[in-house]
């Protein structure tokens, strides 16, 4: 248990002050008495300022649910501040966590208020915030309590939902609620046409001007509003490139997770049902659902993604999707089995859109030796990947690099038009 202990400054003042003056008097050394005199004051005041009780110190974060880039302030709670003059806090460094002050060290006199430290996680994932050492000092720096180690708080940092919006409709909406216009007639608001009254039609649908003009009852028909089943397939098999957090360069997994978060937020906001399948060592599957709580579940699942070098790509993807669903495959597409599995999905009648999240990961840095082995290997991998993507596009699965807002507009419009073309099935 931590208790108040004399500081080296107090020990020094006592030895030089009391010791010096005492020896000066006893031995008759005037110089020693003169030089020791200032330290007597410092020693006496330091000794007199000894606090009586050991305080209980705890730190708390203002917010425990954060998106990357957001911040939370860590505040200190001290139950007994009597006899405390100064508080020092030193926060432990943590990967991808920025602190304010920059090096996490802060101190202030107690009468100014207890010092605070601001933490801001710069990357999604599980982050440990708030580990710190705290020391209290009595008046005249005579006594010190601590430093004591305060435990960290582990929290899941949700990915920032990169700005994303699209006006394109999902190709084949298959549910019965939501904002997407259906090809079927139903009880929506979108005008479809006017037809003669039939038994079973609701009276409020009667269009009186047309009925009076024609002499027969006519009703207004509308299109049904339907939601879409949207699956997000996240490739977390590898993380290529170095992540600089939200302010720096993005690794492939950063791009993948942020794009998935943006798509999930967009589709949930428009009333679609969204499901998530994470292809990784600790793979996860979130069934189709909608609403804000479901969005939080999706973001939480994305934030818990970890890569593992031993994880292997699946041979086939079993999403349990119907032909009306849309699958967004978010991947840098570096593994042939995953490309094959995506092609199988496409052949099965599912509308597949491949969102390429490679970004700049395989871009050679300026001035790099193009004949060096790593550069050659990188170029070979890129050529193979581009070939896979070309074959995938030839099968009808559009491949679009992730560019934020409007990334999927053109592709989804094309898929919608294609879905409306009558097909003859064998």
């Amino acid at each position: 248990m931590t208790s108040w202990r004399p500081t080296p400054a107090l020990v020094r003042a006592c030895l030089l002050g009391v010791g010096g003056v005492s020896l000066g008097i006893v031995l008759g050394q005037e110089v020693l008495a003169v030089l020791g005199a200032p330290f007597v004051v410092l020693a006496a005041t330091g000794l007199a300022g000894r606090p009586r009780r050991s305080p209980h110190v705890a730190a708390r974060l203002d917010h425990t649910r954060l998106h990357e880039g957001q911040g939370a302030t860590s505040r200190l709670d001290v139950d007994e501040l009597a006899g405390v003059e100064h508080v020092t806090r030193v926060a432990a460094r943590a990967a991808h966590v920025a602190t304010l002050p920059m090096y996490g060290t802060v101190g202030s006199l107690v009468d100014e208020g207890l010092p605070t430290i601001a933490f801001s996680p710069r990357r999604w994932g599980r982050r440990a915030l708030g580990a710190e050492r705290v020391a209290l000092t009595s008046p005249w720096a005579g006594w010190r309590w601590g430093p004591v180690q305060l435990p960290e708080t582990s929290l899941v940092v949700l990915p920032r939902t990169a700005a994303y919006d699209t006006r394109a409709e999902v190709p084949q909406p298959d549910g019965l609620v939501g904002r997407h216009r259906s090809r079927r007639v139903g009880s929506g608001n979108e005008f479809e046409g006017i037809r003669p009254f039939a038994s079973g039609d609701r009276l409020k649908r009667i269009n009186w001007p047309v009925s009076l003009r024609t002499g027969e009852l006519h009703v207004v028909t509308t299109r049904a509003e339907q939601d879409a089943g949207v699956w997000l397939l996240v490739d977390a098999l590898r993380d290529i490139g170095v992540s600089g957090g939200i302010d720096g360069r993005a690794s492939t997994l950063d791009l993948t997770v942020r794009a998935a978060a943006a798509l999930a937020e967009h589709h949930v906001r428009t009333g679609d049902r969204v499901g998530l399948l994470v292809v990784a060592a600790n793979g996860a599957r979130v069934p189709l659902g909608s609403g804000p709580r479901h969005l939080q579940r999706l973001l939480g699942t994305l934030a818990r993604i970890r890569t593992d070098a031993r994880s292997t790509p699946p041979e086939r993807l079993d999403l349990g999707t119907t032909s009306g669903s849309v699958v967004h495959v978010l991947s840098p597409m570096l593994f042939t089995p995953l490309v094959t599995a995506t092609a199988s999905l496409q052949r099965g009648g599912t509308s597949v859109v491949v969102v390429d999240t490679l970004g700049d990961a395989l871009t050679e840095p300026d001035g790099a030796d193009r004949l060096a082995l790593p550069s050659l290997a990188m170029r070979m991998q890129k050529i193979e990947r581009d070939d896979r993507l070309r074959r995938l596009a030839a099968l009808g699965a559009p491949v679009v690099p992730w560019r934020g807002p409007g990334t999927l507009d053109t592709v989804l419009h094309q898929l919608s038009r294609r879905a409306q073309v009558p097909r003859v099935r064998a």
Binding site: M1, S3, W4, R5, P6, T7, P8, A9, L10, V11, R12, A13, C14, L15, L16, V18, G19, G20, V21, S22, G24, I25, V26, G28, Q29, E30, V31, L32, A33, V34, L35, G36, A37, P38, F39, V40, V41, L42, A43, T45, L47, R50, H86, T88, V90, P101, M102, Y103, G104, T105, V106, G107, S108, L109, E112, A135, T137, W140, A141
Partner: protein, 168 residues
Amino acid sequence: MRVLRPGVVASVVVLRALLLVLPCAALAVALPEVPHGLVVAMVVVSAASWAWFPDHAVGVAPLALVAGWWTVHGVVDWRLLVVGVLLTTAHLAATLVSYGPPTLAVDPRLARLWLARGGLALVPLLVTWLAVRGLDPRLAPSWLWLLAGATAVGLLVATARLVRPEER
């Protein structure tokens, strides 16, 4: 080229430099009389150690060495006041630095507080210096010395008792 470690604050570096310089300056006040080389070396080494570890008991060494040297030479002129100010300033600089790691910037309010406290601590220096210069110890009655000795012992015992950590 980066001279300081990342995060180390310039004000802390200045204060630490003072810990090295001030004890040496207190010894240099004796010039043109040159202290023994061994004394100079010990003061420089201990002051450097103190500058490196300001919150360590090693800080007693340079101050005690300098005070001891001046005591042995028995100089009670104006230079003693300068030495007293230098040693007290070094002690205060170390105290200010010891509030936290090198990445903790010196709080201006705390620095002003310690400046005032330093001024207060220097009052007894002047008083005792004037007393030593102005009063003749041979005129003091013998009981006064006995009383002073007993007070000194009492103070030492009280200090030792107070400084002892709490038993739990």
